[in-house]
């Protein structure tokens, strides 16, 4: 009597299985990798796409949201100029990486080569049964990069991972290791084609050794019909610092997961996330942040602007292990809900097992403060510009914290452009 009838596969679930059958011949990897891919694919088939009954997907019901899985990249795409002139660009065009010569202080390999190296199977695992991104990416991953920044190397140039896609499906992976004392700024930039429909998954794995200092910026600017499922996982060594900036300003369906383990004493993690949401898009940022050793700190600030019929989600979980005394973790999530048809759901979570800690979270949802608006309009500024100014101020505050001025300017231009297009 315990037999449970499995619901029939949805169109997307069926398409995932079909794509795999179609693509398997071209996917790189040795026998062990192929076994790992198979295992992950059947995990997806067993569980089905996650629904709101799965707590980590509570507000993003993929079973109803994931529409169609396109087969192969269809349109044309090419490299674009880097965001900051002079950056080292690691291009991924329609899912394909280039075998480049690494700049000084760095070792670099396309991920397709890693997949054939005989040691990659261990990388294709799931974080848990609800890790759809891990399963999907692991089953389909085609390319990406694996790079290491050498001990004590200080990369002056920004490293820009540039993923350009025009329709079809692309699955990439970026393995980044920062050896002891290494310093670097990396941009992970996603561009799409508004005329095409694409699906992409990506997993970035960051390993920070003792004393490493890394700024990692995710710019998601996929096309208005694209579905983008991404995951960043990071582990921090002793006295290391990781600052992650996320700007979501595109895509029809976006899920950006961040899984951070603050695992070295004296380490610090920062997250600044700006979600610019418009149209009928659905954007979900999900963070799990583990403090597992004593004396670590973290600060997370998420700012959301919701226009049109957009739906936004932020789930942020701070976990403090019993050992992690003297943890200081603060998280806040502020939303400007500017449309009556828009929606924002926030689930900031604290899970604390150590007593000598300072942990807190705050969440607000508000409209623009009318007294501020009045103040500006009384000075002859039109309502539209006044709103623009206030929204700009609301998100630029986070971007201003980056210590590279050229980069700050480039990002602020990006935000302004988005507001001009959608505001």
């Amino acid at each position: 009597m315990d037999m449970q009838t499995k619901p029939p596969r949805t169109a997307a679930e069926q398409a995932i299985q079909d794509s795999f059958a179609e693509m398997i011949g071209q996917l790189p990897g040795d026998a062990a990798v192929m076994v790992a891919r198979d295992k992950l694919l059947s995990a997806i088939d067993d569980a089905g796409l996650p629904t709101r009954r799965i707590e980590s997907w509570h507000y993003t019901d993929l079973r109803s949201l994931l529409r169609g899985v396109p087969s192969k990249p269809s349109g044309r795409a090419g490299r674009v100029d880097p965001l900051v002139w002079g950056s080292v660009v690691l291009p991924v065009v329609q899912g394909r990486s280039t075998d480049l010569t690494a700049p000084e202080g760095m070792r670099l390999t396309p991920f397709s080569k890693v997949l054939q190296s005989g040691e990659a199977a261990r990388l294709l695992t799931e974080r848990g049964s609800d890790d759809l991104i891990g399963q999907l990416n692991g089953a389909f991953v085609g390319d990406g990069y694996s790079f290491t920044v050498a001990a004590d190397a200080s990369m002056d140039k920004i490293i820009e991972i540039q993923s350009v896609q025009s329709g079809g499906q692309v699955h990439s992976r970026f393995q980044a290791a920062f050896e002891a004392g290494a310093k670097a700024t990396v941009i992970e930039r996603y561009l799409g084609d508004a005329a095409e429909t694409g699906l992409s998954t990506s997993i970035s794995t960051l390993e920070l050794a003792d004393g490493a200092e890394v700024t990692w910026i995710i710019l998601q600017g996929r096309g208005g019909n694209d579905q983008h499922l991404a995951q960043l996982s990071a582990r921090l060594g002793e006295n290391s610092t990781l600052k992650v900036y996320v700007i979501n300003a595109g895509g029809k369906l976006t899920r950006q997961e961040l899984h951070v383990d603050v695992a070295g004493e004296g380490s610090h993690f920062d997250l600044r996330c700006v979600n610019l949401l418009a149209g009928d898009s659905h954007t979900d940022v999900t963070l799990t942040l583990g403090h597992s050793v004593p004396n670590t700190t973290s600060r997370e600030i998420v700012r959301n602007v919701v226009l049109g019929r957009a739906r936004g989600v932020f789930q942020g979980q701070i976990k403090v292990a019993q050992l992690a005394q003297k943890t200081d973790a603060q998280m806040s999530c502020n939303t400007l809900l500017l449309s009556d048809d828009g929606e924002f759901s926030a689930k900031p979570e604290l899970e604390i097992f150590a007593d000598d800690v300072i942990c807190g979270h705050g969440a607000t949802v508000i409209d623009i403060d009318h007294s501020h608006l009045f103040y500006l309009m009384a000075r002859g500024i039109t309502e539209k510009s006044a709103r623009g100014l206030l929204v700009n101020g609301f998100v630029d505050e986070l971007i201003d914290e980056i210590d590279n001025e050229v980069l700050v300017e480039a990002l602020e231009t990006l935000v302004e452009q988005w507001l001009a297009d959608h505001g």
């Binding site: 500017l338 604390i352 097992f353 300072i358 807190g360 969440a363 949802v365 508000i366």
Partner: protein
């Protein structure tokens, strides 16, 4: 040597499992055989001389319950409950409708005396006229006695056990029962609908301000019994009522199930204030025994400008799983939730609230204070949502957790859902430990550590205590002190 005696006293005090209400009362009782079948439900219904529609309602709930699964999403951990190993009906034998307090088994009265519940009217009358409290006492799921009935009736207030109400005011019960918590709301609410044995019923007519506080005391006494009471409170247009609820149970090795349902309905301009001091047996210091408190409480602000306020002090039970909620349906309605949840030993608490904003200009306020000590786990889980049409919905939430010792856990899981640009939601949560400075300050003034902690904790929860009626506030403060004993060291 006095010092030695002091040490002994201290050690005795530190014993976690000293539960003040842990006595058992030997009273002849009429108990149904263990197990749950349709026949059990027919028997309960027959024992209570219920109308046919009530039996149908119960059987319908039972059929649905059989198809449901136990929820597992809460952060609580317990062995699977054998629902066939529970007595679903137990009534003190001599209590078949006592006419006055003198008909009540004297043994039972002694129980209430031990509990410190002033059942006897003269005792209350001896006090100040204003602080009168009408009491409905529920013993092993059967209402034993309701005091002050006559006086309340003069004001037009109906306050009686729900089984009495079913016979005397069937139209009211039928009209409102299950309209806030539907039969199939959740696993335990459905079970309750099938097997509930008694509870309180309050009806406050239009424009009446209930002249005194109403109070119910629940006690589980019989072994292996589940307590399934159902409370229904209706405040008509412009009415006001304040209702208090207290719970205790004897010490037993086995776990006992308590699955109650409380429904509140507030019409236009009505106000209901519902306060709970929950002190069911929490289990011994090794986590053996204790009550499983799986309760569904929900208030419906059905009318415009209505207000429902929940205040709870949760110190007992091995496992607490409850979310007193407000559905803010009427325009300008208001919901409040004030909670203190103290966990010690191996207690597990997963509690919070839901504020569902549906009407225009609705507002809600949530203040939750969690204190975990020992090996306990204490979770706040709450939902605030504004519907698309809930123009100008406002919410303020503050959840603070205090950790005492490094073997316990404190968790906060809020769900904030805004579907309206005029909604204004603010949520704030903090977790910290008792400030060393404050503790040092107290110790330096010769206050023993345990007392100092109780003092600091009482300061921490002050905002909530202030919301309790005076008589309860004093009891609650004492309870918090008792619950935290043994948390030092």
């Amino acid at each position: 040597m006095p010092a030695v005696q002091e040490t002994i006293d201290q050690v005795r005090l530190i014993d976690v499992d000293q539960y003040k209400y842990g006595f058992e009362t030997v009273i002849e009782s009429d108990t149904a055989p263990k197990g749950l079948t349709e026949d059990t439900i027919r028997m309960i219904s027959a024992k209570k001389n219920e109308p046919d529609w009530m039996l149908e309602w119960r059987l319908d709930a039972f059929k649905r319950w059989l198809t449901m699964e136990e929820p597992t999403w809460a952060r609580v951990d317990y062995p699977k409950i054998d629902f066939q190993d529970i007595h679903y009906y137990s009534a003190p034998k001599s209590s078949a409708g006592p006419k006055s307090i003198d008909d009540v088994d004297p043994e039972l009265l002694r129980v209430y005396e031990k509990l410190g519940i002033p059942l006897r009217e003269q005792e209350i009358l001896a006090g100040v006229e204003k602080s009168k409290i009408a009491v409905d006492a529920v013993f092993d799921s059967v209402s034993v006695v309701t005091t002050f009935k006559k006086e309340l009736a003069q004001a037009g207030v109906i306050f009686m056990s729900i089984s009495e109400a079913m016979r005397e005011h069937p139209e009211l019960v039928q009209k409102y029962l299950g309209t806030v918590v539907p039969i199939t709301d959740n696993y335990y609410a459905t079970l309750n609908a099938a097997v509930f044995t008694d509870g309180s019923f309050v009806y406050v007519p239009k424009g009446v301000r209930c002249p005194m506080e109403l109070s119910t005391y629940f006690r589980i006494n019989e072994k292996n019994t589940g307590q399934f009471e159902r409370t229904l409170i209706i405040a008509e247009e412009g009415a006001y009522v304040s209702y208090l609820e207290g719970c205790t149970a004897p010490q037993r090795d086995e776990n006992q199930l308590h699955a109650a349902v409380v429904e509140l309905i507030a019409m236009d301009d009505a106000e209901i204030k519902y306060s709970t001091v929950q002190n069911w047996y929490p289990g011994d210091k090794n986590g053996k025994g204790g009550i499983y408190n799986f309760v569904t409480k929900r208030g419906d602000c059905r009318g415009d400008r209505s207000k429902i306020s929940w205040t709870q002090v949760e110190t007992g039970s091995a496992i607490t799983w409850k979310y007193p909620s407000c559905i803010l349906r009427g325009d300008d309605s208001r919901g409040e939730f004030y909670s203190i949840a103290v966990s010690n030993g191996y207690q597990q608490i997963d509690s919070g609230t839901k504020m569902i904003h549906l009407g225009k200009n609705t507002s809600s306020r949530i203040i939750s204070k969690g204190i975990s000590a020992g090996h306990s786990s204490n979770t706040y889980r709450g939902q605030v949502s504004a519907h698309r049409k809930a123009v100008n919905a406002r919410n303020f939430t503050q959840c603070d957790s205090l950790l005492i010792g490094n073997q316990c856990g404190a968790h906060t899981v809020p769900y904030i859902e805004a579907k309206n640009s005029t909604a204004q939601f603010e949520h704030e949560a903090t977790t910290s430990k008792i400030s060393e400075d404050q503790l040092f300050y107290c110790l330096a003034r010769g206050i023993p550590e345990e007392e100092a902690i109780a003092l600091i904790v009482n300061g921490f929860v002050r905002e909530v205590i202030q919301e309790l009626p005076m008589e309860f506030a004093v009891e609650a403060q004492k309870l918090i002190g008792i619950s935290l004993e043994g948390s030092v060291g």
